[in-house]
């Protein structure tokens, strides 16, 4: 049956976005109003009309909370309005972060899958490794990141690799946990079946455990890719790096450039969304190939 009101997902998304924008504008006005009033007082400006102050509130240079149109225009200027090689371009910084994210994500995924394979096939590994893996994630990444950067810098490695390593550190974890679960998810009847064929461990892995674990892999990768991005950005925060979205955030906060901070935040969010969408697309293609019931 055709029910058009159920197919209006685009409309509902637009409504939610519009509602968020309204909330944002209201918040921006409330938060910035007194700041503008103080400014008038300090500079002895009097007799400002309500309309005038309203206009000033929404167009401050360094507002507490920038309004959506300020962020949008800053975002536009720093992407389309700049050459992509310029240090003022968000595309340039975005790529610096993205390349580290991707490298770290690939290393983290491969490393995570490898660890999961060991853990599933070796009980001693399971007992001895799993606690360390969990402990590794309880250490705040903000404490580790500067050490990694500094130590690697001391041995002459800087730039992409240290950031990617921090991404790896964050992204292997969901992959290990998900894939251990995935590799163990074949039903006992399927494992018995392989046993009746006298199948080797490798066959059991390649023909049963791996395909069974694929849905877990994609779920883990979605978490992992987002964690990778966070890792790369955190890796850019320690002093010394001047490239990437993280450096842009840090510079913005040094100089009180809230509009710049917000547009960098949006760039990060867009990147995360795009990365997760790519993993989702890969998942859909794989599902079609594996004959998953639509």
């Amino acid at each position: 049956m055709n029910r058009p009101w159920r197919d209006s997902s685009t409309l509902s998304v637009l409504i939610v976005v519009a509602a968020l924008l309204v909330v944002w504008y209201v918040a921006a006005i409330l938060m910035n109003w007194s700041g503008v009033s103080d400014f008038y007082q300090r500079t002895d400006v009097t007799g400002v009309t309500f309309g005038q102050q309203f206009n000033d509130v929404l167009n401050q240079e360094k507002p507490l909370l920038p309004a959506p149109h300020q962020v949008a225009s800053e975002f536009w200027n720093s992407t389309v309005g700049q050459a992509v090689t310029s240090k003022r371009s968000l595309v340039y910084h975005g790529w610096q972060t993205l390349s580290a994210t991707l490298l770290g994500f690939v290393m983290g995924t491969v490393f995570g899958i490898g660890l999961a394979v060991f853990i599933v096939h070796n009980q001693a590994m399971d007992r001895s490794l799993m606690p360390w893996i969990i402990a590794s994630q309880t250490v705040p990444i903000l404490a580790i990141a500067p050490m990694v950067i500094v130590v690697l810098n001391a041995v002459g490695i800087s730039g992409l690799i240290p950031k990617a390593l921090i991404s790896t550190y964050l992204s292997f974890f969901p992959v290990v946990v998900g894939m251990v679960k995935g590799f163990r998810s074949p039903e006992s009847i399927q494992l018995d079946l392989m046993r009746t064929y006298n199948a080797s461990r490798f066959d059991v892995f390649a023909k049963l455990r791996w395909p069974t674990a694929l849905p877990y892999l994609f779920t883990s990768m979605k978490v992992g890719v987002a964690a990778s991005l966070v890792g790369a950005i955190v890796g850019e925060l320690p002093a010394g790096t001047s490239n990437g979205i993280g450096a842009r955030l840090l510079a913005g906060s040094y100089y009180g450039q809230t509009v710049q901070i917000w547009s960098a935040l949006f760039a990060a969010a867009l990147l995360a969304g795009a990365l997760i969408a790519i993993v989702g697309l890969a998942e859909r293609i794989t599902n079609t190939r594996l004959g998953v019931r639509p």
Binding site: E187, I189, Q190, D192, L193, M194, R195, T196, Y197, N198, A199, S200, D203, K207, L208, P211, L214, L290, G291, V292, R293
Partner: protein, 256 residues
Amino acid sequence: MVEAKGLGLTFKTADGDVIALTDVNLDIRKGEFVSFIGPSGCGKTTFLRVIADLEQPTSGSITVNGTSPADARANRSYGYVFQAPALFPWRNIERNVALPLEIMGYGAADRKDRIEKSLALVNLEGFEKKFPWQLSGGMQQRASIARALAFDADLLLMDEPFGALDEIVRDHLNSELLKLWAATQKTIAFVTHSIPEAVYLSTKIVVMSPRPGRVTDVIESTLPAERPLEIRETPEFLAIAHRVREGLRAGHSYDE
């Protein structure tokens, strides 16, 4: 084909030992169709799993095809059909049947040939490219039988393969199975808890009872090899069914 002498199997559990099988003496000769019938917990599935080397006996001895069950498994001398089809959902029917062939290292041309033959034996021609979820329960179980037939082992172990299907489909598959048995000359060991199914299919019926799991009666069927579904209304059929029922009743304790 299968020879068990004084076979026993005791599971050690937290609540103490569970005797799954005790003192089972049984011969399955080549070409026989042997059914194992009994209430749950009587060890019929356990016995099948011992033959398949999926469980190890704790006492007595058993040979399969003249060797130990472990060697029989290594030689791939039996095909096993489980209660559920256990098809791999990411493989289509053709590739599900190909699974044992890939593991056992058959060449591509040979594989294709064998897939075609085994799917024909279970009347599933034309469904090669379908995925398991696109098939009914009965067809899925037939595909799993084709998979067990594909590598042409002489012994077929079937653990309540039609237990989850409705009676009409079950009747149909039973008569199909008899035809398949006649065509392939295989030895079949078949676990069931349906008396008509056991009597209809078998040349030998092994009646078992629980606590402890043991064989209480072995009935050689006097029914002819040719068995239309109507044979189930003949006095001969009913007489055997009666004896099976008596055997089940004798072994069943009603005090729990």
